[in-house]
Assembly symmetry: C2
Homo-oligomer: 217 residues x 2
Amino acid sequence: MNTLAEENYLKSIYHLSIDAGNVSTNQIAASLNTKASSVTDMLKKLADKALINYTRYQGVSLTPAGEKIAVNIIRKHRLWEYFLVEKLKFKWDQVHDMAEEMEHISSAELIDRLDEFMDYPQHDPHGEPIPDCNGRFNASELKAISTLSVNNCGTIAGVRDHSSSFLQYLEKQQLTLGKKISITEIVEFDHSVILQTENKKEIHISREVANNLLIAL
Amino acid sequence: MNTLAEENYLKSIYHLSIDAGNVSTNQIAASLNTKASSVTDMLKKLADKALINYTRYQGVSLTPAGEKIAVNIIRKHRLWEYFLVEKLKFKWDQVHDMAEEMEHISSAELIDRLDEFMDYPQHDPHGEPIPDCNGRFNASELKAISTLSVNNCGTIAGVRDHSSSFLQYLEKQQLTLGKKISITEIVEFDHSVILQTENKKEIHISREVANNLLIAL
DNA sequence: TTCATAATTTAGATAAGTCTAAATTTTTTA
DNA sequence: TAAAAAATTTAGACTTATCTAAATTATGAA
Ligand SMILES: [Mn+2]
Ligand SMILES: [Mn+2]
Ligand SMILES: [Mn+2]
Ligand SMILES: [Mn+2]
């Protein structure tokens, strides 16, 4: 089928496509920790396989075939993360790297049975929607805290950054999925945000954190 | 750590070492569906890493370090097979190829938690013993049917061949794990064996099948 | 519009793992 | 025990996925 490297490129292009249109060589290189020249080589290969639309110097987008593969990898990633947290009792900050390996296990029947075994979960441990076996899923309607205004309130429902360090920080601040918060103040100077939790505790978070913490209204 | 190719070579050498002493280049090539020259290249690399004892033209054996890695791969293989059958409800003839991929997932904590999740199973779906997290396990005391004599009886407890075709054949003959059988006759001419099952049904199996079907006495 | 800078691609190398064909060593057989 | 056969290794090549350094193309500031 496709090599591990090809799968990782497709997944990276998919993720980068969400907030941009065409994805640039340098963006891909940064997200995969590789060099632009390596990316160019791979883009030629993926274009030959008709998995991406590629014109020299113009960046790339996924073809429907490429998108299908990418979504399937993401489905596997999120289902394995859910398995690791719900069945094997890992913390949400421990599972991403393991899922990076497990998402490449090829069997479709395996992943469909895993989905059934876990009773078709809709969201992974980081609040991301899990595509079904046909690749369909609802686009996230979550908003970053940084887009809200004073007095807005909502429930923490997702994160944009999956790094252990960020998730551990949230854990320590008790800013975990399901917690209800309201915006008390947005500091003009540095765009940091002061929140209030259900039990009236005030938490001051940086702009960076506010950008990566997602709320359902 | 070790590459996927290295892990597969170590596992192959481990399995081939069980009934021979030193393992030959050609044996490894046959078991991995590769060419003898490729094997030689890899043997040099594994010897450099001190995972095998290798002298040109003399075959190889695992060092303790190599054996430890091999047993760990086998532990992962068998635990994933058990998971696929017990939790995801696959048949015993469907799981080997998936486990060949899953055995390379690296996290030790993951496999230890999987072991715990399944309550420390002792045998995989083919009757093979599962090493514990320290690599310890009881050597199988099972005997091939071909080593028994007339009137011996016992319980089917394992298989030597894990191919789908063999397992499906056994399934059709209802020669599955746990079934009690006794030897009715051993045909002089072709060493085929006539068995009797608990419900008095007679089954005639070839020498080949008798070699690959294991009994606990 | 022009030129400096940034982005991207090309050229040429490297490492892992594999292959075929040829050479070497071991084993078997006569 | 010497030649033939089998097993194994070496030589040289190929593929995939990388890299660095150099060349090319695009962009945006003057
Ligand atoms: Mn993840
Ligand atoms: Mn996730
Ligand atoms: Mn198996
Ligand atoms: Mn097995």
